[in-house]
């Protein structure tokens, strides 16, 4: 595993685009994690109120809610680590360095391990960043809370790491299939941000489909299943009922997706000739 990780490090270390993307990802996470109070100030300036409540008084950084608040938003940035995976994998294919790596003496399994090492590293790094951001923000803005209350919502952090891992594995599989980084990045972003959410919204809300099985179908879609892991919790500030836990059903669905992605990756890597 260490050898695989080092191999991947040697490859990404000098790739300028990967570092630009990683920098953009960290910047977006920073804005997202630390921009809450500024956003609420802006809402107040715009004259918004929450049932007569001053927006700046909303306890968005209080434990344990802060975990779900931050991780649910951060998971919407999952495209960034996925883009890094796409660039890394397609780079190996288009330059035929994957083939040369195999010729030089790694097995296809070792190649798979090196990419999984990259994906796990991205997932762990972003999770650690978010964990740290939550603790800093909690320290700065949260009302005092017991240690137990502070760690109560930390399961969302684990769910976030899993979300990033599953989505990056989808990116890995697609990169092996499509091999064209520009097209794939555009297609995956559009699918994740537009196509699937619109399709899911139509199925969930179309009057003709009410009380039919079609309504629950989006729960099984690749991106919607991930969105269902950490659901957006901000309805609670409008006194709506929310899912303030990681649903087991979504965990099972995303695990099934992860296993199918890994099976696809292994199938493509082992069965396909490296021409």
């Amino acid at each position: 595993m260490i050898k695989s990780l080092k191999l991947e490090w040697l490859k990404v270390k000098y790739h300028p685009l990967i570092w630009i993307l990683f920098g953009m990802y960290l910047l977006a996470l920073t804005i997202l994690c630390f921009g809450g109070t500024f956003f609420l100030e802006w809402l107040k300036y715009e004259g918004e109120d929450f049932h007569g409540l001053d927006p700046t008084l909303l306890p968005i950084y209080d434990f344990p809610d802060i975990w779900q608040n931050v991780t649910s938003l951060a998971s919407l940035l999952r495209v960034f680590p996925a883009f890094i995976v796409i660039i890394s994998v397609t780079n190996d294919i288009t330059t035929q360095t994957l083939r040369q790596n195999v010729i030089d003496g790694i097995s296809k399994t070792q190649y798979l391990t090196s990419k999984i090492a990259l994906i796990v590293s991205l997932s762990v790094l972003s999770t650690a960043f978010i964990g740290l951001a939550v603790l800093i923000n909690g320290k700065l803005y949260a009302h005092p809370a017991s240690h137990q209350l502070m760690i109560e919502g930390a399961t969302f952090l684990v769910a976030y790491a899993f979300d990033a891992l599953v989505y990056c594995c989808l990116a890995f599989l697609l990169a092996l299939l499509i091999k064209k980084p520009g097209f794939l990045i555009m297609a995956l972003a559009l699918y994740t941000i537009w196509f699937e959410p619109i399709a899911a919204a139509i199925l969930r809300n179309h009057p003709d489909l009410r009380d039919t099985a079609w309504v629950v179908l989006p729960d099984y879609f690749p991106v919607s299943a991930l969105n269902g892991l950490i659901q957006l919790p901000f309805g609670r500030y409008l006194f709506h009922e929310i899912t303030d836990f990681v649903p087991v059903k979504q965990l099972i669905i995303t695990t099934a997706w992860l296993l199918s992605y890994l099976s696809g990756i292994i199938f493509l890597l082992t069965r396909r000739d490296l021409k």
């Binding site: 083939r99 195999v102 030089d104 000739d273």
Partner: protein
């Protein structure tokens, strides 16, 4: 000792039989040429023994049965084009190869000097000319000081100077006692560096043998002078020549046993004819290659 043994190695792409039941044995120290026209199955064969193309049937054994991964770490190989990360320098690229081959990074400078790229080691791969890229490939292949080198069309796309450079490099490496497997359709190249060769055609091995067995001088000579008809009439009287015939601006004939080119030269001079050319004909691999291919049509 058998470095490589192929037993009935076959590759089928749908209806296309790219390599058919190929059996080969390559021994230590041989410089083995795999010849064949484009599409004859050379690269597919090398792809299979390097584990990037899965055989449809048959098998191969490196070093008498070493595990394929360990074996590949001990082999320096280039398949078709040089494959490196374009955004990295030569040194950075070779660091990856060294890491995979589990050899010391200290060797990098040494091989870069050997292939004449040390001065350009800090330049990005994408700025290299094709010749430099090929030399870097050979450098990467030499990194682990491998006992076996596999080179697939190493002079493809190079200018004459580049071809000569790579050929010299291969000859130097061969002199170190390494086993080299060289696939090429450039017959002159194989003739100059290989000791053994086989010919593939449509995936089938149609010939195998020693390069020396089919090259070298023949009993045939090419001869010409200012007055070709007078020369022909004169030479017809010489008992040591047979099959005398005109071939364009010169005559060709076979020397009988016991007759030398010096005898012919003296005879013509005594007859008052000054020869402008008297040349023994060498058999080339190219001639033999074409003959073998024709015979197997």
């Amino acid at each position: 000792m058998n470095i490589l043994e192929l037993n009935g190695l076959t590759k089928q792409y749908g209806k296309l039989l790219a390599v058919n039941e190929l059996n080969l044995q390559i021994q230590q120290g041989q410089v083995y040429g795999i010849l064949g026209p484009n599409g004859s199955g050379k690269t597919t064969t090398l792809g299979m023994i390097l584990d990037v193309v899965a055989p449809s049937s048959g098998d191969y054994r490196w070093f008498g049965g070493m595990s394929p991964i360990k074996a590949r770490q001990q082999i320096g190989a280039i398949l078709e084009t040089p494959c490196f990360y374009p955004y990295m320098t030569a040194e950075q690229n070779l660091r990856i190869s060294a890491h995979i081959k589990e050899c010391s990074a200290a060797k990098i400078s040494e091989v870069l000097k050997q292939v004449g790229l040390f001065e350009r080691r800090k330049d990005k791969f994408k700025t290299y000319s094709l010749g430099m890229k090929q030399r870097l490939s050979i450098g990467a292949a030499l990194l682990a000081d491998p006992p076996v080198l596999i080179l697939d069309e190493p002079t493809n796309g190079l200018d004459p100077e580049g071809i000569a450079e790579i050929r010299t490099l291969i000859q130097e490496i061969a002199q170190q006692g390494k086993t080299i497997i060289l696939a090429s359709h450039l017959l002159d190249e194989v003739q100059k560096v290989c000791t053994h060769f086989c010919i593939l055609k449509n995936g089938n091995k149609v010939h195998e043998g020693l390069v020396n067995d089919i090259t070298g001088t023949t009993r045939q000579i090419r001869i010409t002078s200012q007055d070709l008809s007078l020369l022909k009439t004169t030479l017809q009287q010489h008992p040591g020549l047979s099959n005398l015939a005109t071939d364009g601006p010169e005559l060709i004939a076979d020397l009988q046993p016991g007759t030398t080119t010096a005898d012919i030269n003296r005879f013509c001079f005594e007859q008052g004819i000054t020869l402008s050319k008297l040349q023994p004909v060498n058999r080339t691999l190219e001639q033999e290659f074409l003959t073998i291919l024709k015979a197997n049509q």
